[in-house]
Each structure stands twice: as C-alpha cells, then as structure tokens.
C-alpha cells in the first residue's frame, strides 16, 4: 500500500513538471543527422526549450502533422495537393537544407567506384537487372570485374521522403519505372527487401554483401560506405557532393513556386547532381498555443542565421541566398 502511495506521489510530481516550451516534431530521416544536431544545440543555448524530433519517416511526418498530433512535421517529398487539402491544419513548407540521395552498394571484390546510369538504376529496382555482372552494368563500368551474383536491392519499408526523391528521379528518367511503380513516399517495390529509415537501409547494405540501396549522402559518408556516380541530365558522370547539389538548386532556382514545393531531381547543368532535393519542415501557419508558435519561429530564425552555416560540414547544401531571404519572409507569416 505504501508503495502505491509513493508511486502516486511520484506520478503527481512528474505530471506537474509540465513545460509549455516542449515542441514535438516527426518526419524525415533524410535530414535527421543535421536536425538532431540543430535541436540539440538549440536546446543547449536556449535553456528550457526542448524540440523533440523523431525520425520516423516523411510519410509519418506528413500524417502526424496533418492530424495535429505533432507540432511540426518534416518531409523530403512535398505534400501533394490532396494531402494539403485533407490536412486539419494549414501548413507552410519551409525548406531547410538540400541533400543528395546516393546509390550505396556492398559488392565484395569490387574496389573501383561503380557508375550507374539512370536506366540501370530503374531496371534494377523494377527487377529487370538482377545480377551484378549484367551487361548493362558492365557497359557503364568498363574495366571492372563484376561478380556473377544476384543483386539484393534494399528499399525503405516506411513512408519515406528519400523514397519519394528516388522514385521521383527514376520516374523522370524512365517511363517504364513511372508506369510500373510511380512516385510516392511509399511505393510497391517488385523486388528487394525493406528496412525502416535511412538508418535501416544503410545498416542493411552495410551488413549484406551484394546489396544495393539508396540513402542520403551523409549516411554513406558517416559509415564509410561505397556509393556510385550517377549520370546527370547533361550526360556527365557525377559523384554526389555539396557542390553538385548546390548546382542543381541553382539550376532550378527560378522555378521555385511561392509554396516552395519543387522537385529539383534530374536538374539541367553539367555539374548538377541529379538525385538532389530540398527537405522541408511542415509548419502550421497558425499555432493554437502562442508560446509554441513563438518557439517555432525563434528556432526557424536561429536556423537561418546559425544553423545553415553548419550544413556543409554535414554534407548538406545550405539554402541558396535568394531562397533563404524568401524563407525569412514566410517565417514572419507564422502566427
């Protein structure tokens, strides 16, 4: 009995420790490395403010913010018009950084850097190419001895913005892919195995020989994984890098609409890395709780001023200046 009362007392104290400055966000795993760093730094320099971000996938970010269950969402695939109209809150897409999706692979015996042309990537993921020594892969990689072993494509099992970027790109370059699979945060993959999060895909590829996956650049970098070059719209082989992503953004900058929902995959220009994308925070236009709204706005201002500077060191590309200026105005409209 005594124990129970003690328990209740603890519960009461616990519940009273409520703080209004706690924000909860959910969404993309693609920018999670930099978001978790930002939120950790921000709470360090602003005592009492905690922004809890769970990288549960872009699909979850969209769903949970639309249902008003989290305070903000995050996605690397822009929400569709239908999703926006179904949402219970009006949302701003706030671009934060840009990143690249890279094809990571684990092929024992191959030391050279592999090259993947767009149609090969598409063919692997629709199941037309299923061996590493397929002539179409060999054609792109002259001089490399490829093993006669089946390819294990790894994809995202959760609703994912990384999947959106990747399928968006493959749909642009391969009509067959667009028709058979299409672009979305979750699609029906005909082959391969699914893993949760960028973390899961990277972990799987790392642990499984002869596998191929797609992850955000930083996951490949942090884990010292091999990732291939991709042929861009100008016909050049490009390896993913901050510069390549910035070039892609620069090429697309004029086409960015007022709500920032833009796809910059397969961007023109000789230096553009073709599988690049913005990643967005999905922020309600109006916060019911003014205190929460203020924390959100303060954070976004801090992000533009201080956060962007850290992007490059994490292999993300910061927002181009004109975009950052426009974002600053949008932030001002959050109530």
């Amino acid at each position: 009995m005594n124990m129970k009362f003690a328990g209740l007392a603890v519960l009461a104290t616990v519940a009273l420790g409520a703080q209004a400055q706690d924000l909860t966000g959910a969404g993309a795993t693609f920018p999670n490395p930099i978001y978790s760093r930002w939120f950790s730094e921000y709470s360090g320099s602003h005592p009492g403010v905690k922004i809890n971000y769970q990288s549960v996938g872009s699909g979850a970010g969209i769903r949970q913010v639309s249902q008003k269950i989290v305070d903000f969402g995050a996605s690397d695939g822009p929400m569709t018009d239908q999703q926006l109209s179904e949402s219970k809150v009006k949302l701003f897409h706030i671009p934060t950084v840009l990143g690249a999706v890279v094809p990571v692979y684990n092929v024992p015996g191959v030391n050279a850097e592999l090259k993947f042309s767009p149609d090969v990537l598409a063919a692997i993921y629709v199941g037309q190419i299923n061996h590493w020594n397929d002539p179409r892969i060999a054609r792109d990689n002259p001089g490399v001895t490829l093993p006669d072993h089946q390819i294990l494509p790894v994809y995202r099992s959760d609703g994912s913005g990384t999947t959106y970027i990747f399928t968006d790109y493959l749909s642009k370059v391969s009509p067959d892919f667009q028709q058979r699979i299409g672009r979305s945060t979750s699609v029906k993959w005909p082959v391969g195995i699914g893993q949760k999060g960028n973390e899961g895909v990277a972990g799987m590829v790392r642990n499984s020989q002869f596998s191929l996956g797609y992850v955000e650049l930083i996951y490949a970098e942090q884990n010292h994984m091999s990732y291939g070059q991709v042929k861009n719209a100008a016909g050049k082989w490009v390896k993913a890098s901050t510069d390549g992503v910035t070039a892609a953004a620069a090429a697309a900058i004029k086409t960015i609409p007022a709500d920032y929902r833009v796809s910059i995959t397969n961007a023109p220009g000789p230096n553009s890395y073709p599988i690049s994308s913005f990643t967005w925070l999905l922020v309600p236009q109006h916060f019911d709780d003014a205190a929460k709204g203020k924390v959100m706005v303060d954070f976004l201002r801090w992000m533009l001023q201080n956060g962007e500077g850290e992007a490059a060191s994490m292999t993300y590309a910061p927002l181009p200046k004109p975009v950052a200026d426009r974002v600053a105005q949008t932030i001002g409209q959050i109530r």
């Binding site: 959910a26 549960v56 996938g57 872009s58 699909g59 979850a60 970010g61 969209i62 769903r63 949970q64 639309s66 239908q82 999703q83 179904e86 072993h149 089946q150 294990l152 099992s157 959760d158 609703g159 699979i181 299409g182 672009r183 979305s184 945060t185 979750s186 699609v187 029906k188 993959w189 082959v191 391969g192 195995i193 699914g194 893993q195 949760k196 799987m204 642990n207 499984s208 020989q209 002869f210 596998s211």
Partner: protein, 342 residues
C-alpha cells in the same frame, strides 16, 4: 439492523438457497456469507470488484469496436478481395493482405515445426532423464530466456543469426534440401527462414516450460505402473507420461503458436519486409504485425490507414480463433479422457 438491510439479507439467503449454482457454496458458507455481508462497505467492495471485472469486458469491446469501426473504409472498398489479393500498392490505393497472411502463417508454422520437437525433447530430458542438480540450472536458463524482450532477440538475430544463416546454415541447407525448392539461392540471410528460427528460439521457453509443468503433474504411479510392467524408460515416458499429458502439451503448443503469430519486433528486423508469396524460404516476406509496425504511423490517406487497421483486425481475429480452437480441442480431449480413465 435496519429493516431494509434485513430484507436484503433475507432475499440473498433465499437466492443462495434457491440457486445452488456455485459448487463450493455449502449451506454453512451461504449462511455465514449472508450474515457477514450486511454492511454498506461490503456492497461497495462488491461493486468495486464487479467494476474491475466489467472493465475487462469494456476494454475488449472498445478494441473490437475501434478495429471494426476504423476499418470500415477498407472493408467497403475491397470486401473479401482484401484477403485474396496479393497487391499492396499505396501509390494507387489498392490493398490486399494475402502476402502478409501468408508470411505470418508460414513463419509461425515453420517456427512450430522447429521448436515443438526440441521443446518436448528438452522437457522430457529435464524431467525424466537429466540428473537432478542439472535440472535446476536448465530450468533457470529456460525461464531466463522467457524474460528476454522481443527487441533483444531481434538485436541478436540481426547481428548473429543473419550472418550465420547467410554464410553457414544457408549453403548446407541448399545442398541438402535445395531440390525441394524450399531453400534456393540467393540467400541474403534475411527472410522467412531466419524469422522462423528466431521465432522458434522465442517460443521454445513457452512450450518447453508449460509442457514440463504438465508432465510433472502426471502422477508418479503412472510411471511406476509402466516400469513395473517391464517397460523401458522411453516406453514409460511414451505411455505413462506423454499420453496422459497430451492435452496440456497441445495447449502449450497452441500458446506458442499464439505468441509466434503476434510477434512483431524481432520478426520485423529480420524477415525482409517484402510482401511476396514464395515457396523459397530464403526469400524475404512480410507479416501482418510487421506491416503495421512499419507503416501505421505514416499511412497517408484514409484508405491506407483503414487497410492497415483491417490488417490489425485480421490479426486480432486469427489470434481469437487460435485460442478458441485450443479451448475446443482441450475440451474435446478432456471429455474423451474422463470417459475412459478414472
């Protein structure tokens, strides 16, 4: 004593006398109960307990209502086709649960095939063969394993079992059983077989410890009688122990099956999460519970969410049916038994 309370008491006594439903209510007890239960505190306490009991009912009703209510969209859109269709396509909003049902059933049954003989062998060993000092150690270890959370099994499976299946077991199985079409390369270590293995390890403590308890409950004179008739130890076990304990053993197996069907985390981590129906056990697959774990929180679109909840409903119904079958089985066997024995 107030009149009303007296009347109430009389009514209760009358009730107790009229309805001898309760088997252990002797006349003395009924009298004592009625005499001692006049106070308000007693009725309050009784009501409180009743509320506790009814809350169980309310919870289950809420679960059923919620599952049925929230899956209406999908039920109306797909009808029975939901359980026959192999298409799970969030882009086009077409959902079928067959691959998940298949993955759940195959991985669970395969786990049973692996775990049941081993569990029974261990139960027999511990109870009938093993030297007594060792018995405690093995029982302790088995109990310890039952306390390990599913997520820890998953962790171990990812880092130890998957490479083992890929590099060691896989090639051997393919050589020996490749001709059956059940074990065909490529084997990436992630798939139905690995999931079944980890499930088998997880349900082993359940089946083994319960069947051990059941066997222990077999009276010793059964064993002595068999031995006295000149049976060997195995014959004694077979006729004296296993035959008498079979009802409980079946119960233990079904409990294990129940656990395997609903198991989520460990399976999600090693089954490959690919909705595919294939005879090849090295192939990745998907289970009902894994698809919920992976996709529930991010199901964009109401139909998608509704389809996932219908999967939850299916999982719920399957576990209830399994439980009901177990009960029926036990009931039938018990009746058969009591008629013959005693």
């Amino acid at each position: 004593m107030p009149l009303a309370a007296l009347a109430q008491n009389e009514a209760r006594t009358a009730e107790a006398a009229e309805a001898p439903v309760v088997p252990d209510t002797t006349g003395v007890r009924a009298f004592l109960m009625s005499r001692g239960s006049g106070s308000v505190a007693d009725s309050v306490f009784g009501v409180l307990m009743l509320v506790g009991a009814l809350s169980l009912f309310v919870i289950v009703a809420l679960i059923v209502w919620m599952l049925v209510h929230n899956s209406q969209l999908s039920i109306h859109a797909f009808g029975m086709r939901f359980f026959r269709s192999t298409n799970w396509d969030p882009v086009n909003g077409d959902f079928g649960a067959l691959p998940f049902i298949y993955g759940t059933i195959v991985s669970s049954l395969l786990a049973l095939v692996i775990a049941v003989p081993l569990s029974l062998a261990v139960a027999i060993f511990v109870l009938e063969i093993c030297p007594i000092p060792l018995r405690g150690a093995i029982s302790f270890l088995t109990e310890l394993l039952a306390a390990i959370p599913s997520i820890v099994y998953g962790l171990w499976a990812v880092f130890v079992l998957v490479p083992l299946v890929r590099d060691k077991f896989g090639p051997i199985l393919e050589k020996l059983l490749g001709w059956t079409g059940l074990f065909v390369e490529p084997n990436f270590g992630v798939g139905v077989f690995t999931a079944a293995l980890i499930l088998a390890v997880m349900i082993f403590p359940v089946i083994s410890s319960i069947s051990r308890d059941v066997m222990r409950a077999v009276p010793n004179h059964q064993r002595e009688a068999a031995l006295a008739l000149g049976s060997t130890r195995w014959e004694m076990i077979r006729m004296g122990v296993l035959r008498n304990a079979r009802i409980g053993i079946i119960g233990a197996i079904i409990l294990g099956l129940g656990r395997a069907l609903g198991e989520t985390m460990a399976v999600t981590m090693v089954i490959g999460n690919h909705p595919d129906i294939s005879k090849n056990l090295f192939n990745p697959a998907y289970t009902l519970s894994s698809v919920i774990a992976n996709e529930f929180s991010e199901a964009t679109g109401d139909l998608y969410l509704s389809a996932l909840i219908e999967i939850g409903l299916a999982l719920f119904l399957v576990t209830i049916v399994v439980n009901a079958v177990a009960r029926l089985l036990v009931w039938v066997v018990t009746r058969g038994n009591t008629a013959k024995a005693v």
